[in-house]
């Protein structure tokens, strides 16, 4: 097993709820949005770890925590053994250089008033990636890497399509020669044919540059295609994590099963054995006690309503957080 680049331990994050005047008067306690409730995972050298879950499950918050856009309330993130939230490391910008993030919305992640060339050369210069006279050559090289024409350097973001903008964002991340890429819904806003182009680009770059990638997405087919391992997140907790093919072929947690079966197949006759989830994601303001999934689960027992299941390894599969993982039939 290769070395862990990032070790995430018990990370939890609650956003302070807004308190209206009425709440203060009636002495209602502040409700916090519990976005992450103790997430632990390792990101291993050279792998792609997929993170899936429904909107509001905390997968984007996790990504933003890793690059220090949010500070967790509890737990730790270690990068090659270095605590990235330790106070003396906060001013250290090399961590941000080595761990890069790419965002979902290609229309807001680029400064509209800077040309592609300015965006990229700024990244090179701030981190002193190469001597001044080599900057033009490096820029051309980056354009090559992300397969954009050279004249793209002189254009402003609004002159590009969504897919091309994501290529620029990727080039910006690669400019500082990172070791880890955090891709937060990188292709979700793109058309299907363009998605495939970006996925191929990412696979190719990973191969050539030996990158470690955390691939956050809600599109299960894409995650399956991209990832070596996959983590399924529900209400700010990992409910299942393991080898991508095993997990997709035979998910163990009832939530993973339902999530995977809900993705519509391209085959009109494969109506699938759909597992219908009742109800919707509970609000992260009010997470149910016990197993947070029990309110929608077909397999719940009295134990599930009181006791929180821990993530535990199951023979032949990954780790699953379910009291009844062994009894539940694989789908």
């Amino acid at each position: 097993m290769s070395e862990a680049v990032l070790e995430i331990r018990d990370v939890s994050l609650a956003f302070k709820g807004k308190r209206s005047v009425l709440d203060v008067l009636s002495n209602t306690p502040v409700k916090n949005v519990n976005a992450l409730n103790g997430v632990s995972l390792d990101l291993r050298q050279g792998e792609t770890l997929g993170v899936v879950g429904e909107s509001g499950c905390g997968k984007s918050t996790l990504a933003r925590c890793i690059v220090r856009l949010h500070e967790p309330n509890g737990g730790s993130v270690h990068f090659y053994g270095m605590d990235v939230f330790a106070s003396h490391e906060r001013g250290d910008r090399t961590y941000n250089r080595r761990v890069q993030m790419m965002f979902q919305d290609p229309y807001s992640s680029l400064n509209p008033r800077m040309t592609t060339g300015q965006i990229l050369s700024e990244a090179l210069r701030v981190h002193g990636m190469c001597p001044e006279d080599e900057v033009p050559a490096r820029l051309a090289n980056l354009m090559d890497l992300v397969q954009l024409p050279g004249d793209a350097l002189e254009k402003y973001p609004h002159e590009f399509s969504g897919g091309q903008r994501q290529r620029i964002a990727i080039a910006r991340a690669l400019a500082v020669e990172p070791e880890v890429l955090i891709a937060d819904e990188l292709v979700s806003a793109l058309d299907v044919s363009v998605q495939a182009q970006i996925v191929n680009l990412l696979l190719d770059l990973q191969d050539r540059l030996g990158l470690t990638i955390l691939f956050v997405a809600h599109d299960l087919r894409l995650v399956r295609h991209m990832s070596n391992r996959v983590a399924v997140i529900y209400l700010g907790r990992i409910v299942e994590i393991g080898d991508s093919e095993t997990l997709f072929a035979s998910p163990s947690h009832p939530y993973s099963q339902a999530l995977l079966s809900a993705a519509p197949s391209l085959d009109p006759d494969d109506k699938g054995r759909k597992i219908h989830l009742e109800g919707e994601l509970p609000s992260p303001l009010d997470i149910p006690p016990g197993c947070p999934f029990h309110v929608r689960c077909r397999h719940k027992s009295p134990k599930c309503t009181t006791e929180l299941p821990k993530l535990r390894p199951i023979a032949g599969r990954g780790s699953v957080a379910c009291h009844h993982a062994e009894e539940i039939e694989n789908v």
């Binding site: 363009v194 809600h218 339902a258 009109p268």
Partner: protein
Amino acid sequence: MTLRSVKTPLLEVSGLCTTFGAGDTSVPAVRDVGFTINKGEIIGLVGESGSGKSVTLRSILGLSRRYGGTTGSALWRGENLVTLPESDMRRIRGGEIAMIFQEPMTSLNPLLTVGVQIDETLKAHTDMSAGERKKRAIEMLDVVGIPAAGSRLSEFPHQFSGGMRQRVMIAIALAARPKLLLADEPTTALDVTIQAQILDLILSLAKDFDMGVILVTHDLGVVAQTCEQVAVMYAGRIVEQGSVRSVLREPRHPYTVGLMRSVPQNVPPRTPLYSIPGTPPSLLSLPDGCAFAARCPQKTVGCETGRPELETLNGGRSVACFNRVEAKGGAAA
């Protein structure tokens, strides 16, 4: 589906063209689109952004009139919706033909309760009494699967979650028992588990009310699981049309083939995906020939000079391509 012996055409669209703007900057958003939808049938319009699928939907209801001109015909019970005066359209909109949108939050009025919004539609399109309307409103919320429907009538849109809001939208749209539902990416903003619920709901409502549905989406999976007929659009035109089974199993247009193969299903993981090179052409400067020619792997000399018309093959398939992909090739493998 083959069992249904008599198909009654509900809406017949032919030669539909919509152009935005005029002169140098006129945009041919929709060109020569035609299809027929029968009672109780669900037809899918698929395409990427800018392909004209949403504009087609809006043109049928006359919603694009303010921004551009529409020609062609959309025959609805003997009337051409394209030339129908605005006052008559208003009667049809929301009454006989209803529409739901992608963004449930912005298409509901945040200041009115859900009950009032359903009541409004009913008041405009039926002559029910206040009591009957209230009964129907509760019934509709019940039909779309909102628990405790009676007590939720007096709630505001923001008190519902995303999926529930989309259900409310559907309840409002279906309150007046329309014959045709136009659904513009109704599940795109929703999570997969909720998407499955909403699609099932639309399916069962179409069956129960014998209602036709035109479903606009970019997700081929949604089409595969929901529709009977499908039309694939590219740069404002339909490039391939037919039954979902035949089109998705044996796509004959190179664009459809590319689209199908771009989706990572039944592909070995972490291998390069098939991808259509390049990006869709700008509608401002469409080529003279086939709009897909620049990205097409099967392109021949004729593709850049002449534009292929939509040709009907046997089995109800039509394809607009000079070099059709041979049957039993491509994505089904």
